[in-house]
């Protein structure tokens, strides 16, 4: 594996590691963006109104059951090759954890703070946007980072439809009996997952109010 991974030939060109890494990252980020746009409003709305929580948990569990490869194949059969089937499959994968995290986060916001928000004259949208979501951010990030891990790991299937990404190394390695390449692919995926997670951890630090950090890190008490 080491030999394959550190062979300079594999680090250049349109099929080299940097390109594959970027492709993989691209799939991941766009998927997460789309999933967030779908899942956060849905989870937040249900969390805010308190209605349909049971359905949201059930739905997200049912969605988790969808085998990503099968979805991918099905969409390929219907819509042909290209990135579209990959995104459909990955977005379906990413939605449940983000939605569940958002829902749980909004539900877990201190009811006193929500009550106070209404009490000072915020409208429902204001309550949601200015109080509930900012306070739910740690849990939203929790769901989001979980989703990111899964998407990074699963974006390998893009290779299945001839697309790029690190999955290429895994699939090609398998097909060519080059375990070195396959393992290198797997390691790169894990590495990318760690990096992406670190990235989101940094983003979380930047965007979550210091007031919400667990006691001890938020400053003197």
């Amino acid at each position: 594996m080491g030999a394959w991974l550190f062979d300079p030939a594999h680090w250049s060109g349109p099929t080299g590691i940097p390109v594959r890494l970027l492709e993989h990252l691209g799939y991941t980020l766009l998927t997460l963006l789309i999933a967030a746009v779908i899942a956060i409003p849905l989870g937040a709305f249900v969390g805010h109104t308190g209605r349909g929580g049971f359905a949201i948990v059930g739905l997200s569990n049912a969605l988790r059951a969808l085998p990503t490869t099968a979805v991918l194949i099905l969409v390929v059969l219907w819509a042909g090759l290209g990135d579209f089937p990959v995104y459909v499959a990955l977005v379906l994968l990413a939605v449940p954890p983000i939605m569940a995290g958002t829902y749980a986060g909004v539900r877990a916001v201190d009811p006193m703070a929500v009550d106070a928000a209404r009490g000072v004259g915020m409208r429902e949208s204001g309550v949601l946007l200015n109080v509930e979501i900012p306070n739910a951010l740690p849990l939203i990030y929790g769901g989001f980072r979980g989703a990111a891990l899964q998407v990074v790991a699963t974006a390998t299937i893009a290779a299945y439809t001839g697309a790029g990404g690190l999955g290429r190394f895994v699939f090609d390695g398998l097909a060519l009996q080059e375990f070195g390449q396959m393992l290198a692919g797997a390691v790169l995926v894990a590495l990318l997952a760690v990096l992406v997670d670190l990235g989101f951890a940094g983003l979380q630090r930047l965007t979550v109010s210091p007031g919400l950090r667990p006691a001890g890190t938020g400053g003197k008490r």
Partner: protein, 212 residues
Amino acid sequence: MTWILENWERFWEVTAVHLRLSIVPVLAGFALSIPLGWFASRSAKARAVLFPLANVLFTIPSIALIVITPILIGVKILDEINVIVPLVIYTVALMVRSVSDALAAVPGNVIAAANAMGYRPLRRFLTVDFPLALPVTIAGLRVATVSNISMVSVGALVGLGGYGQLFTEGYQTDHTEKVLAGLIGTVVLAVLADGLLLLIGRLLTPWARAGR
């Protein structure tokens, strides 16, 4: 749907395999994650090691894991173990955190009360901490089970995937109905398992719904 009805026996057969391949790893993974989760709930150092490790394990592509497992543990390439081991790993990776969080959330005053009454550690864990951690643990188990049911399909790669078989076959013959049948089977199985766990959870935790 008609495919399922017309090929009931075949469908039933793959369902059975799918069930076996998902139940075994869930049970084994759950059993493993209890001591690990307990450990993580007690020690920040353990958490600092276990959680990132779980994350990394979780990202290893299942195909890679299925192919490597026989090399690592020395079994035949077509053995079910090669599907089960990766799924156990994924289950543990998912569940360690749930169990740890669940145990950490047991109210401190209840634990103090138990200690004060003279519980010894093991008994306390079995009769106080663990039962109280059940609601959160089961929520995690539901996710892990459902994910497992979904992931079993990758076993099709070595001819073992339960519904995964239907996917490959349906796919190869451009037979959408077969793929759909597998998909429906997976989702129905997952929803049933999810519901069953929900039910078991409710039966095991009657107190959770007591009161207001």
